[in-house]
Symmetry: C2
Subunit: 203 residues, 2 copies
């Protein structure tokens, strides 16, 4: 069987497509450019993925499959609430350094195509907030944290961790630092953000 060769090609294509789509988005990406990056003929893209749309969806699902476990660190990890916040904040930054374009890509394409999320919802492993809500209620009852809606807390955690990467070009300009200094600031956030959140909610 020629399985090995074809498997490789299929993966090469997906990797090339990931890079191009995540950097340029669905509209900005060119099939030819993906083919070039994968070092194959453009017709092969269609042989394996039929259309730009289907190739894009494969990339998108694959991207979300990487992101979901990260989100589950906040939502479904069973450690203590404060620990969880610290762990997530710390690990998310490492994650984004590995996949710099990924979160922005997911958010951006979801904005252009909001109904797309329905397809993801059906997948197993789609993050659910249920456990997190119980945990927050519990911490409020036990007077560990002030009363706060779990949804609001979750949004805050996400905002503080994700936004600085998405808005990097704007923020570097506004706070008037170069990319190097901005990265230092981001590094500091590994600890600072968790403390900021915990400070805001602890009694």
């Amino acid at each position: 069987m020629a399985k090995e060769k074809s498997d490789n090609t299929e993966i090469e294509i997906l990797n090339a497509a990931k890079e191009i789509f995540q950097q340029k988005g669905m509209d900005g990406a060119r099939m030819q450019e993906i083919a070039d990056k994968a070092k194959i003929n453009k017709a092969l893209l269609h042989y394996y993925y039929r259309s730009k749309q289907l190739l894009f969806e494969a990339v998108f699902k694959s991207a979300f499959a990487l992101l979901a476990p990260q989100l589950n660190k906040v939502l479904n990890d069973d450690s203590d609430l404060f620990d969880k916040i610290r762990k997530f904040t710390d690990s998310y930054i490492s994650f984004v350094i590995k996949h710099p374009y990924l979160p922005n890509f997911v958010i951006q394409e979801l904005n252009k195509n909001p109904e797309f999320i329905q397809k993801l919802r059906l997948q197993e492993n789609f993050p659910s907030i249920t456990t997190f809500k119980l945990q927050v209620s519990d911490a409020i009852e036990k007077k560990i944290i002030i009363p706060i809606q779990a949804e609001q807390l979750f949004i805050n955690i996400m905002s503080l961790n994700v936004f600085p990467f998405i808005a990097e070009p704007l923020l570097t300009a506004l706070i008037n630092v170069d990319k190097k200094k901005y990265n230092e600031i981001i590094q500091n956030r590994k600890i600072d953000v968790a403390n900021f959140i915990i400070n805001a909610i602890k009694i």
Copy 2:
């Protein structure tokens, strides 16, 4: 002079272009679609703005000109620090409701074109963090707030206010609410976010 008529057309074009560009981005927008929305012939777009790129830049600058005063509410308003945080948080939500696609548009296009920010920097009215830094230092000295880098605080304020709009499709799915419920949550944030921030930094 045919000034009135031409003025109208030029503004019609810009408004149509704003809508299309902000919803679909530079790559997704079509000149024909902009012409249709402005109810004019496609050649007129080029008559007034010469190229798609220049039309886009006009839209982008105009969008940023709307956003800048909002940012200056945090950075250069001379009210008390806590007041400022409350005022910004409250007013930013109203702003985004009026211009739902704007912040995302600016951030997104800056990501695809980071050098673009240089052009904006030269414009007067470009927000500067200098005053805000002094204010934060002052508040720390006076033991009103805990020690925190002004840059970090600014990033936090921006994150908590801007991100929930940018990531709306993702967040509604993750916290499992419909659009109506999500808007209620956003409305609550007008007060909640300011309190969250102040709680996190006050002594």
